[in-house]
């Protein structure tokens, strides 16, 4: 039995599309989750000056490469949205996959980075700094993975010219994931 979309989904008393509203609310809830975690980290960091000796071992190079990759991938998702607006879903499909490759690249760099750190003994239990580091970056990475999966699903839809509006929504989500990294990068890599 196929699912029939209710007419409720297509109404728009606010003038904003339902899907866009929903993604914004998801982003709001995620902001407070990451916010809670990061505020806790900042407060602890201020009380634990000695963490600077641990933090010295995060790789600024890996962090910088990942920042560049994520920002570029955000650019690609914007280009994908622009392609949708130009009524070119095939081009949008291509740019979505550039974004996905960016996300995958981010994960590859992170894997190499973490492998290095773990083999050198910088594990979660070594110091509370590392516990925060892996928790925050790990939670972020989970959101990158989720974003990649959803983006891939949307890309197959738009290739068939369906649900084109969802490129903008996943774009918004991806920008949010990017912004979280923009907070993580200075906190964990720069402000040692």
């Amino acid at each position: 039995m196929s699912f029939a979309q209710p007419m409720a989904t297509r109404r728009s008393s606010t003038g904003i599309s339902t899907g866009k509203l929903a993604v914004w609310w998801v982003i709001v809830s995620e902001i407070v989750i990451f916010g809670g975690l990061l505020v806790s980290y900042i407060l602890y960091r201020l009380y634990h000056d000695q963490w600077s000796s641990e933090a010295a071992h995060t790789s600024l190079i890996a962090g910088s490469i990942n920042t560049f990759i994520l920002l570029t991938s955000s650019l690609f998702v914007v280009l994908s949205h622009r392609a949708i607006e130009d009524k070119d879903p095939q081009k949008a499909f291509k740019y979505l996959w550039y974004t996905i490759f960016g996300g995958l690249g981010f994960l590859v760099v992170k894997s190499i980075e973490w492998t290095g750190e773990i083999t050198h003994g910088f594990v979660m239990t070594k110091s509370l700094f590392w516990a925060f580091y892996y928790t925050a970056a790990g939670l972020h990475a989970l959101h990158v993975i989720a974003g990649i999966i959803i983006m891939a699903i949307i890309s197959f839809d738009i290739k068939k010219n369906k649900n084109l509006q969802r490129v903008e929504y996943i774009g918004n989500y991806w920008h949010f994931v990017d912004i979280v990294w923009i907070f993580l990068f200075p906190l964990l890599y720069i402000a040692k």
Partner: protein
């Protein structure tokens, strides 16, 4: 735009009742799960109150209660009642059932997401129940789960139970976050043509604002719960001072959520009461915009009071001053809401139906809860009252009206719409008086006991000479007996609920002569809700409008 009645072909039992995406079915799934968990929560309190009244004696249906078991009973009674009874019944049941009907559309905007939210919720209930059967037993570190008791199995003695507890609560949070997206987006976007912001029934506003409050407050606790899990499972030290952590961080993260959470449950209850008070006094809601803005202000202020739960936890006393001020301040908008509701009744044409009796009882009992909160919100007096039974009595005088009284009011009121028949008024009134009188007889002794110095979460007061005085023990026995009486008085409710499904007086579309849109369709509404989708021409509380023949004026009636 016309009809929508289902274009689906014949559905199987599984599609119609178990895997349904219909908001009405999902609402009832949440409701019945909540009822079953309420029975569990009631059994837990029955056991531990029997232990308090008759320490060391075998409890019928359980056996002798050990100290560890007592802790698990108290912990899970609180946890289950808040997360698996109050929230699903108030928000998920009434929100799911009423929002699409009251805004005049055919379902929630994301029905499959809605179904997913119930499935995750149901899973969370199973994980919670499973925690009773794991080695070591259920978690016993209080619903507040402070570390190190909740992180260190050497202290909790429940290594598996502690983790199951955190996972169950985390899953419940996810379910309500997902559900909240549906409630907020549907109310924002799927309204009937003509339904402007101030034409939305107050209960819909309340559930939407509650969902936003929940969303904003639970985030830090989710982060905190992940940290708690890592402390439990990986030996990390987020809350362990020996590893650089701080247990007070958990307290802050927990209560930053914990305080707005009580408003998350209060607001839907206030919404239910508003709908009922207006219909059964045949009067407009006194100050719709006041109610709305006051509620929003309360919601915002609720984020600034949390440390009143931590006055004696070792926080800076100067910070305690700040939180005392904000806590006393927040009583003002709530008091204003109470005044506004009472003003709604003034010079109304009151009908004492069962839902109305429960709604009025909500006002009286919640008032007692509110004023006793003042003693706790003032850091000075709280030094004495903290962690005594006075606190227990206070929060039961708030939580019980919210999660039990208001829910009963809503059930008796919307039952005709949900099932097409009315419940028996006679049985309803027996249920009402039996519940309300015995509830007060349970809780008033607890105020005295708390003032006499009885601390919470103690499994046997015979171990404390100053607390094992006969007159105090008599009060404990009295409270326990009253509780058993109250539980017995729930039998008429269950009997009434089930019997009325088959033998209740048939209700038409609008047995209460109310204005809101759910009463314009058939009882029970079909899949798709409306044969013809309504348009809205006026606000929801146009009762007893001068110059009109009828004392009500449905929102969708042309003129």
């Amino acid at each position: 735009m016309t009809s929508s009645a289902s274009t689906h072909s014949e559905q199987s039992f599984w599609q119609k009742y178990i895997f349904s995406t219909d908001h009405k079915v999902i609402a009832l799934q949440y409701f019945f799960t909540g009822v079953m968990m309420a029975v569990v929560g009631a059994f837990l309190v029955y056991v531990f109150r029997m232990q308090l009244a008759f320490p060391g004696k075998e409890v019928l249906g359980f056996g002798v209660v050990s100290s560890g078991e007592y802790n698990a009973l108290v912990t899970n009674h609180g946890t289950i009642m808040i997360f698996w009874v109050a929230m699903p019944m108030l928000i998920a049941t009434f929100g799911n059932y009423l929002i699409p009907l009251m805004v005049g559309c055919d379902d929630m905007v994301f029905p499959r997401l809605n179904r997913l939210s119930f499935q995750i919720f149901f899973l969370s209930a199973l994980v919670m129940l499973a925690s009773f059967f794991v080695p070591g037993g259920a978690f016993g570190g209080a619903w507040t789960a402070y570390p190190p008791l909740s992180t260190d199995p050497n202290y909790s003695l429940t290594p598996a139970g502690s983790t199951f507890w955190v996972l169950a609560v985390a899953l419940e949070f996810v379910a309500f976050l997902i559900g909240g997206i549906n409630f907020i987006t549907t109310a924002m976007n799927s309204r009937a043509p003509g339904m402007k912001m101030f034409d939305i029934p107050i209960i819909v506003w309340m559930i939407v604002i509650a969902s936003i409050l929940f969303m904003a407050s639970v985030g830090p606790l989710i982060a905190g719960a992940v940290m708690l899990l890592f402390d439990q499972l990986l030996g990390v030290g987020f809350y362990d001072p020996s590893k650089g952590g701080d247990p007070i961080l958990w307290q802050h993260l927990f209560w930053f959520f914990g305080h707005p959470e009580v408003y998350v449950v209060l607001l839907p209850a206030l919404g239910i009461v508003a709908e009922i008070l207006t219909v059964f006094s045949r009067k407009k809601l006194f100050g719709y915009k006041t109610v709305l803005y006051t509620t929003i202000a309360t919601g915002v202020l609720s984020f600034f009071v949390w440390a009143h739960h931590q006055f004696v936890a070792g926080i800076d006393p100067r910070m305690a001053n700040v939180f005392t001020v904000t806590t006393i301040l927040i009583s003002i908008p709530i008091a204003e809401l109470c005044f506004v509701y009472i003003a709604t009744l003034y010079k109304g044409s009151i009908e004492f139906t069962t839902p109305m009796l429960f709604a009025l009882a909500f006002m009286a009992e919640f008032l007692i809860g509110g004023v006793t909160g003042i003693f706790l919100g003032s850091s000075g007096s709280d030094i004495y009252f903290h962690d005594t039974s006075f606190v227990v009595a206070h929060f039961h005088y708030t939580f019980f009206p919210i999660s039990i009284i208001a829910v009963f009011a809503g059930v008796y009121y919307w039952y005709p719409k949900m099932f097409g028949r009315k419940m028996s008024e006679t049985l309803g009134k027996i249920h009402f008086w039996g519940t309300i009188i015995s509830f007060n007889l349970i809780m008033i002794p607890l105020f005295y006991l708390g003032a006499a110095g009885q601390h919470r979460r103690v499994y046997n007061y015979e171990h404390f000479s100053e607390l094992s005085k006969p007159y105090l023990q008599d009060l404990r026995v009295f409270a326990t007996v009253s509780m058993i009486v109250m539980l017995v008085f729930q039998v008429p409710f269950f009997y009434n609920f089930i019997m009325s499904l088959f033998r209740g007086e048939k209700a038409g579309k609008n047995p209460w002569k109310a204005n809101t849109l759910e009463w314009t369709t058939v009882s029970p509404p079909p899949h798709g809700n409306f044969a013809e989708f309504p348009k809205v021409y006026r606000p929801p509380y146009e009762y007893s409008v001068p110059g009109r023949k009828l004392d009500y004026w449905p929102q969708n009636e042309k003129a």
